[in-house]
Amino acid sequence: MILAGLGLAYGWFLVQWRLALADLRNSKPREAKARLLWCEKIWPRSSEVQRMLARASRMAREPGDAEKRLQAAQKLEGGATERLQLEYLLLRVTTGDTDEPAVALGTYLANGDSESAAILETLAAAYIRDLRYGPAYSTLNRWIELEPEKATPLFWRGWVLERLNQAKSAMDDYSKALEKDPDLFNARIRVAEMLLEDKKPDEALPHLEYLQAKNSENPQVLARLGQCRYLEGKPEEARPLLEKAKISMPDDGPLLLHLAKLDVESGQAEPAIELLNRLLKRDPGDTEARFLLVNALRLAGKRTEAEAELKEYERQNQMLKEANDLLQTEARTPSIDADSVARIGKMLLELGQEPQALYWLDKALERDARCQLAHKALADHFTRKGDAARAAIHQKQVMPDTRKN
């Protein structure tokens, strides 16, 4: 009886171990970690459990714990085995040191290592984090080739393709991801969002209803459902959904924008102006919100302010057009000089697109560490942000005649 009980318990832990490995393969690190912590209780001296715990922590963005686990595994093994070295390399990539480990990881990939999928996943995530869409795209292609039945890399590639202005291909990838995993929330909500952005509420609605049936209180779903009802011409249904979602997502741009639209359409200019000003404070480059603000100000009889906002809208729109032209030119015929990409970064900074702007300015400095345009733009940007230390780093690099400009 006791033996049978022990056997059952052991079997349960074995099942947890296998499920944890599956969770890791399916990019569910938190679920994996919960199971592995059970396994650690019964196998406290297993270096493999520690290695997998390190992986789960790394994937769950807990690098400190990941490193601690790797050290524990190393101690148990009496040294850094080749498997542990691989895990260290992956941790370095995850924590921001991509290029050097990528070379070593390339060797593992070339040798057809059994952990190739984990390597590709880690590299792809790092490239995406670093806004390096080209390497991210090719890494994801390899991952999809290696694991064609997996939904996650398809979703990630769709996400990258959106950033490469290939919305149709992105939608195709999201669709394929959903064929493989219909419950992939982020893919389905993104599909619905894209359809809403394209003003196709009838096509977005089934996705949102599907998600709502799974989780009726998810604020993101409620917010998008509210947008959908608005587009269907059902403001009376849209508002309660948006208001409810706003409690959990008070800064969600599309949500605030649609609440403001409802206010404007019902003649409530002042609440709309308040919402739009809040939205624009967070995202000054949101031209749709700014155009609505023009309308709200007009509605409120504030003609002079409306005209001023309209001028700002036109200025931003023009800049956006120029930035788009530069980006498209860069995509068609990539430049090799630093100034070209620095110009893009500078323009994006002015449009309030900080992460992307910093990517292009960093790229400029990669090409030419003394690029004056990039240093000047970064110095001004960090000064505006009150980050004196970082501003000073770039200010030091600005030559006197450039400073005058």
Binding site: N26, A125, L131, R163, A187, K199, G253, V294
Partner: protein
């Protein structure tokens, strides 16, 4: 936040991506009841389903084209080998509804379009348009030749034509015709044929209209300077010719018609009616913007939008800001102030200029101010701008989603259009004629179904499937006229199609539900122009407004009579007209279910 703000910003979509990427893992939990929705876009079939409220039983329109005798088919010349795929071929043509012979029945005139000939087929030639006399009971007779319209002055052949604008420019009580086209326009004076009939004489040169036209599309008659003589607004499109004819494609390989962005826009034209059959083009002095990256006009409608009585002008431009000209004219001097952007009618709700084609104005909310309706290109929403003008300051709000119109989707390329109370239920519904502008569309068909939208107290729902047989098939449509062809108060439709015969659609919705109506012709004692006037009909305590308009739809002139549906109300409380000079006049003696004439200064319906 992983959000796309709007389409033009697609290259800038990277805000907050770190957070997005690292939350990519699926977090949905399994649920047994949810059915997986389709991921791919649907083909839209059945989307316009039977959803309309309070509609009479059966189809709303009967296609009587075949028996009508109307066989006009606009020729765009695309059959030429090898194909030119010129932007000229994309515009098509409209039609005019006019009672040219004064028999009380609306006749029809269709511009003929054109074709190509000569060396390399690069001569741009015209087709003769068709004039059909209405014989009653939806029967028409081709009287083109009999009425002198087979050729222009001196036997000159027709030019490549698009639009027909009907109006009595010399106040002689007979409706004249203006036909627009590439490089030319023709002003055709309606006069006696000396045998008890009527004929049209080409008076273009004598009127001063033979020069200065680059590419004229839609046109609208309206007395802009208050002298009672109708002036003329003419849209011009783009500066295209075979000398400026680049190669274009939309899928990287298939040659197709170029988009308007490949060409410079043109300044539009304003012809000041000097009287005595003379006109002077005063567009520049009047304040019309130059072309270049503006202009590209396709649709125009004139009516008073800000409540000062004077006709203003709204223009649908293709891919660039639409115009709203507020009329600041003084007698003898036409002055138009362009306020489209600041008034909120130049762009859509996202601030993007659309590919606008057809236009109309109508009473959306009983405010007494005309809202503006614009049909746009595919992947854009048609635009409904609710009029919120106060103190004569023009101000509009983009109301398409809020009115339910966004729900029809964005798969159509809309052209001819108009407000029409299809069954006299008391609200103006909408009708749109569709058809793609390019030859090989990649996402939708070239030929498309028309769209009907039911208006219930300012909320619209698709009711296309209730339209009847014509509405279930695809067409390559352009112009559309809403008008009562048999004077029964029910508004019929005539659609000008490209390379296929025009459609005559008899309204069979009215009468089934016992609803009443009242029809009116507004007139001045001197037969002068009344565009800008506003009619208010109060019944059962509810006001409905109609507006005397010039132009409208696309390249067309619909019926100028004003019809008000009264629903089950069998009594009209009052009828009031605000004339273009701003004076209001109450009319007595108004009867139900018939047309009556309201002549300025008489106070009594005739």
């Amino acid at each position: 936040m992983c959000r796309i703000n709007f389409r033009s910003a697609l290259w800038l979509l990277v805000t907050g991506l770190g957070a997005c990427v690292f939350s990519l893992a699926g977090c949905g939990s399994k649920g047994p009841e949810a059915k997986t929705p389709p991921v791919k876009a649907t083909d839209g079939k059945g989307k316009s389903g039977p959803v309309a409220d309070n509609l009479p039983q059966g189809p709303l329109f009967e296609d009587v084209s075949a028996a009508s005798g109307v066989t006009s088919s606009y020729d765009n010349g695309e059959e030429v080998k090898p194909p030119h795929l010129s932007i000229l071929e994309s515009l098509g043509g409209g039609l005019a509804e006019l009672d040219f012979d004064g028999d009380g029945l609306l006749d029809l005139y269709f511009p003929g379009g054109g074709h190509f000939g000569g060396q390399n087929n690069r001569d741009i030639l015209g087709r003769t348009g068709k004039l059909y006399r209405n014989l009653g009971d939806f029967k028409f007779e081709d009287v083109t030749e009999k009425c002198g319209l087979a050729t222009l002055a001196g036997g000159t052949p027709w030019f490549y034509s698009h639009a027909a604008a009907a109006g009595d420019y010399d106040k002689d009580g007979w409706t004249d015709l203006l036909v627009t086209g590439w490089r030319r326009m023709a002003l055709l004076h309606n006069e006696s044929d000396g045998k008890g009939g009527r004929k049209f004489t080409d008076v273009t040169a004598a009127a001063g209209m033979e020069q200065g036209v680059t590419w004229a599309t839609s046109a609208a008659w309206a007395d802009l300077d208050g002298d009672s003589l109708p002036d003329l607004y003419v849209c011009q499109y783009v500066d295209w010719s075979f000398a400026k004819h680049p190669d274009c494609n939309y899928d990287g390989k298939t040659p197709d018609v170029c988009p308007p962005k490949n060409f410079f826009g043109l300044r539009h034209l304003v012809y000041h009616n000097l009287g005595g059959g003379k006109f002077k083009e005063v567009g520049k002095e009047a304040g019309l913007p130059d072309g270049g990256d503006r202009g590209k006009g396709l649709g125009v409608v004139a009516a008073d939008v800000n409540g000062d009585g004077r006709p203003d002008i709204y223009v649908g431009n293709d891919t660039v800001d639409n115009y709203l000209f507020i009329n600041r004219s003084t007698p003898g001097k036409i002055k138009l102030e362009e306020l489209g952007v600041i008034a909120g009618v130049a762009r859509d709700g996202n601030g993007s200029a659309n590919g606008s084609m057809g236009v109309d104005m109508g009473d959306l909310d009983g405010s007494g101010l005309p809202s503006i309706w614009v049909t746009n290109y595919e992947n854009e929403l048609h635009a409904l701008y609710r009029n919120l003008s106060r103190n004569k300051d023009a101000s509009f709000l983009f109301q398409t989603p809020g009115s339910g119109i966004a729900a029809i989707g964005q798969k159509y390329v809309g052209w001819g259009t108009g407000f029409v109370d299809i069954d006299h239920h008391g609200y103006e519904d909408l009708v749109v004629a569709n058809g793609h502008a390019i030859r090989f569309p990649t996402t939708t068909g070239r030929r498309q179904k028309p769209v009907l939208l039911r208006n219930t107290a300012g909320k619209f729902k698709a009711m296309t499937d209730r339209g009847g047989a014509y509405f279930t098939s695809d067409h390559l449509s352009r112009g559309l006229c809403i008008g009562d062809l048999n004077n029964d108060g029910a508004m019929d439709l005539v659609v000008a199609n490209m390379n296929e015969p025009a459609a005559v659609l008899k309204n069979i919705a009215c009468g089934k539900n016992g609803f009443h109506w009242a029809g009116f012709t507004l007139a001045k004692p001197d037969k002068g122009d009344v565009v800008g006037a506003r009619l208010e009909v109060v019944a059962g305590g509810r006001s409905q407004f109609r507006f005397a308009k010039g132009g409208g739809s696309y390249a067309s002139t619909p019926d100028r009579r004003l019809v008000v549906g009264l629903g089950a109300r069998d009594k009209i409380d009052s009828v009031k007209v605000r004339w273009p000079d701003g004076k209001e006049e109450v009319f007595s003696g108004v009867a139900l279910d018939k047309y009556q004439k309201l002549v300025m200064g008489t106070g009594k319906a005739e």
